[in-house]
C-alpha cells in the first residue's frame, strides 16, 4: 500500500520541487547558500577541508571552554544561594590556648549552646549536627574506615538567620559567647569568598582561552583567505577588469568562508556537546562529594548551540575585511 502511495506522490513531489527551485526567491536562496557555482573557483580549492577541520577543532575547544565557564558560574551561584543567611557555630576540639577538649565536654557545651539559642529572635531555625552527620561531612577527607571514637570531633550547630547583616551577626556572637566561651561563629563568608574568587579566576581563564581560540581562528582564516587571493589572483583581476566591485568579489569569499565555517562549527559543536555531556555524566556519577556536580543552565546550553553561528559570523566578517583590505591595493 505504501509503495502505491509513494509511486503516486513521487512525480508530484518532483514537479513541486522543480517548480519551487525555479522561483526567483528560492533560486536566490539556493544561490546564497552556495548552490550556484562561485565566479571564482573557490569550491575546488584543496585547502577547504583544512579550514573545515580547523573551525571544527576551534568550535570543539570553544564549547569546552564555554561549558567550563557556564558550569563554574552555575556552581558559584549554587554555593552562594545554598549558604544564604546560614551560619555555623562550632565548639572546637582545641581551645584558643591549645588545650584539647574531651568529646564529652564538646557534646555538653554544644547542647547548652543550642538550648540557649533556641528562642533567640534572630534565629529562624537551628539544628545540632549528629555525630553521623559530622562523620559524613568529614569522611571524604579521612575515609570511612575510622570510627568516631578514634578521633575528637567538634560540635556543630547549623543555624539559619532571619538576616545576615553585621549588626545581627555581632549580637549573635555576643549571645553565643555568653553561653559558651569555646564557641566560634563561622559565617562562611570568608571561605566562600575565597572559593568564589577562585571560581571567578577559573571563569576568566576560560574566557581568556575562548578569546585565544577566536583570535587563532581569525588569524588562520585571514592567512587562508590571503593564500586564496594569491592563488586566484588572475581570476580576481579578470573580475576587476569586468567592473566587479571589491564588495562583489568579497561576497564570493565571505560566502565560501561562511559555508565552510558553518560546516566545521556544526561538527565541532556536536563533538563538544557530546564531550560535555560525558563530563557532566561522570561528575554526577563519580560517587564522591569531593568532585562537585557540574550543571549547565538551559540558557548556557542555548548559547553553546549558537557557537557554529558565532564561528560562521567571525569567519564571514574576517574574510570580508581581509579581501577588502587586499583588494584596495589593486588599482
Amino acid at each position: 500500500m505504501f509503495s502505491k502511495i509513494k509511486k503516486q506522490l513521487q512525480p508530484k513531489i518532483k514537479t513541486l520541487g522543480s517548480v519551487l527551485a525555479k522561483t526567483p526567491l528560492v533560486m536566490r536562496m539556493l544561490e546564497n547558500l552556495g548552490f550556484r557555482d562561485y565566479d571564482l573557483p573557490l569550491a575546488q580549492s584543496e585547502d577547504s577541508r583544512f579550514l573545515v577541520l580547523l573551525i571544527a577543532l576551534m568550535s570543539f575547544l570553544s564549547v569546552l571552554a564555554c561549558s567550563g565557564t557556564f558550569a563554574l558560574n552555575d556552581m558559584a551561584a549554587r554555593w552562594s544561594s545554598g549558604l544564604e543567611n546560614k551560619v555555623t557555630i562550632e565548639i572546637a576540639v582545641e581551645t584558643k590556648d591549645g588545650h584539647l577538649l574531651s568529646n564529652k565536654t564538646v557534646r555538653k557545651e554544644t547542647k547548652k549552646l543550642a538550648k540557649g539559642l533556641k528562642n533567640n529572635p534572630m534565629i529562624k531555625s537551628l539544628a545540632v549536627l549528629s555525630n553521623a552527620e559530622i562523620q559524613e561531612l568529614i569522611s571524604p577527607w579521612i575515609g570511612d574506615s575510622l570510627t568516631l571514637n578514634d578521633i575528637p570531633l567538634p560540635g556543630l550547630i547549623a543555624i539559619e538567620l532571619r538576616n545576615t547583616n553585621q549588626k545581627s551577626l555581632n549580637t549573635l556572637k555576643s549571645d553565643m559567647l555568653k553561653l559558651s566561651k569555646y564557641a566560634r561563629l563561622e559565617t562562611h563568608h570568608e571561605w566562600l569568598g575565597d572559593l568564589i574568587n577562585f571560581t571567578r579566576t577559573l571563569k576568566n581563564l576560560s574566557l581568556f582561552i575562548t578569546l585565544i581560540i577566536a583570535s587563532v581562528t581569525i588569524i588562520a582564516i585571514t592567512a587562508g583567505i590571503r593564500t586564496r587571493l594569491a592563488i586566484h589572483q588572475k581570476e580576481v583581476c579578470l573580475l576587476h577588469a569586468m567592473g566587479a566591485t571589491d564588495h562583489y568579489i568579497a561576497r564570493q569569499f565571505q560566502r565560501h568562508a561562511m559555508i565552510l565555517s558553518l560546516k566545521g562549527g556544526l561538527v565541532g559543536t556536536v563533538f563538544g556537546l557530546v564531550t560535555t555531556a560525558i563530563i557532566i555524566f561522570l561528575s554526577s556519577h563519580s560517587g564522591t562529594t569531593l568532585i562537585p556536580t557540574i550543571k549547565i543552565s538551559s540558557a548556557g546550553l542555548a548559547l553553546l548551540c549558537l557557537i557554529p553561528i558565532i564561528a560562521s559570523t567571525i569567519a564571514t566578517i574576517t574574510s570580508r575585511f581581509t579581501v577588502l583590505r587586499n583588494l584596495s591595493k589593486i588599482p
Binding site: P24, M27, D37, D39, L40, P41, A43, Q44, K234, E235, C237, L238, L239, H240, A241, M242, G243, A244, T245, Y248, S328, P331
Partner: protein, 234 residues
C-alpha cells in the same frame, strides 16, 4: 572617447619604463589596430585603456572623464563600459560556457531572466548555443576565442579591446572573427585590436597605432578593399 596626453607608465616593482610620452585620441565609434613588435608595450597600453593599470605620468581621459581625478570606486562603473578580449582568453574553467558569458551581466546586477535571454541570444550569434552547458576545456581554441568575445560584448560595451584575438586561430576563423568585430563596430562600439598580424592589418585597413620601444611612432590609416567588402557583407 579616449584621450592620452603625455602618458608614461612604469612598473613599481622593476621601475622599468614601459611606455613614455604617448599621445593619441580615439573618437567614439572608431576602429583601430594597435601594432608593433613584441615587447613594444602593446599589452601595457591595452591595460591602461582597460583601466587595469594607472599611468605613472600624463593625463588620461576616458568617456569624457579625467581618470586621475576619479576615485577608485568610480573606476568600477567605467570598467563595465569596456569589454576586453584577452590573448589567453582567460575563461573560468570551472564555469559553464553560459556562466562565463553571463559573468559581466551578473557583475552589473542584471536580472536572471535578462541574463538567460541575452546570453542565449549571443551564444546563438557566435554559434555556440548547443555548447552552453560545456566547460571551456572541452572546446577548441577557436570556440574558446568566440566565448571570450561573447563575454566581452555581452555587456554592450562602448569600448572593445582585443589583445591578439586571432593569435591562436587559423586564417578562416580569424577572418570570421574580424567580421564579428566589424559588425560590432557598425553597431557603434569603439574597437581597438592589438595585433602584429600584418596580413589582417593590411586586409582590413583600419587606422593604425604603431608602437615601438614604448613610444607611439605614428598613426596611419588605410582603406583596404577587403574592409569595404566586409562592411558590405555585414
Amino acid at each position: 572617447m579616449i584621450k592620452f596626453e603625455n602618458i608614461g607608465f612604469k612598473y613599481k616593482e622593476s621601475g622599468e619604463e614601459i611606455l613614455h610620452d604617448i599621445n593619441f585620441t580615439l573618437e567614439s565609434g572608431s576602429y583601430h589596430f594597435l601594432t608593433g613588435p613584441s615587447g613594444s608595450g602593446k599589452t601595457s597600453l591595452m591595460n591602461l585603456m582597460s583601466l587595469g593599470n594607472m599611468p605613472t605620468e600624463g593625463q588620461m581621459t576616458m568617456f569624457g572623464k579625467k581618470i586621475s581625478s576619479l576615485k577608485r570606486e568610480d573606476l568600477f562603473e567605467l570598467r563595465q563600459r569596456i569589454g576586453v578580449v584577452f590573448q589567453d582568453f582567460r575563461l573560468l574553467k570551472h564555469l559553464s560556457i553560459f556562466d562565463n558569458v553571463a559573468l559581466p551581466l551578473r557583475i552589473m546586477g542584471e536580472s536572471d531572466e535578462n541574463i538567460k535571454n541575452y546570453v542565449s541570444e549571443l551564444l546563438d550569434w557566435v554559434g555556440l548555443e548547443k555548447h552552453k552547458n560545456n566547460l571551456p576545456p572541452t572546446l577548441s581554441g577557436g570556440q574558446q576565442q568566440r566565448v571570450a568575445i561573447a563575454r566581452a560584448v555581452i555587456g554592450r560595451p562602448k569600448l572593445l579591446l582585443a589583445d591578439e584575438p586571432t593569435g591562436n586561430l587559423d586564417d578562416e576563423i580569424g577572418f570570421r572573427l574580424m567580421g564579428l568585430f566589424e559588425q560590432l563596430n557598425r553597431m557603434g562600439t569603439t574597437i581597438v585590436i592589438a595585433t602584429h598580424n600584418a596580413n589582417i592589418i593590411e586586409q582590413f585597413g583600419h587606422p593604425r597605432l604603431i608602437l615601438g620601444n614604448g613610444k607611439l611612432h605614428s598613426s596611419q590609416s588605410s582603406n583596404a578593399p577587403i574592409a569595404q567588402k566586409i562592411r558590405n557583407v555585414f
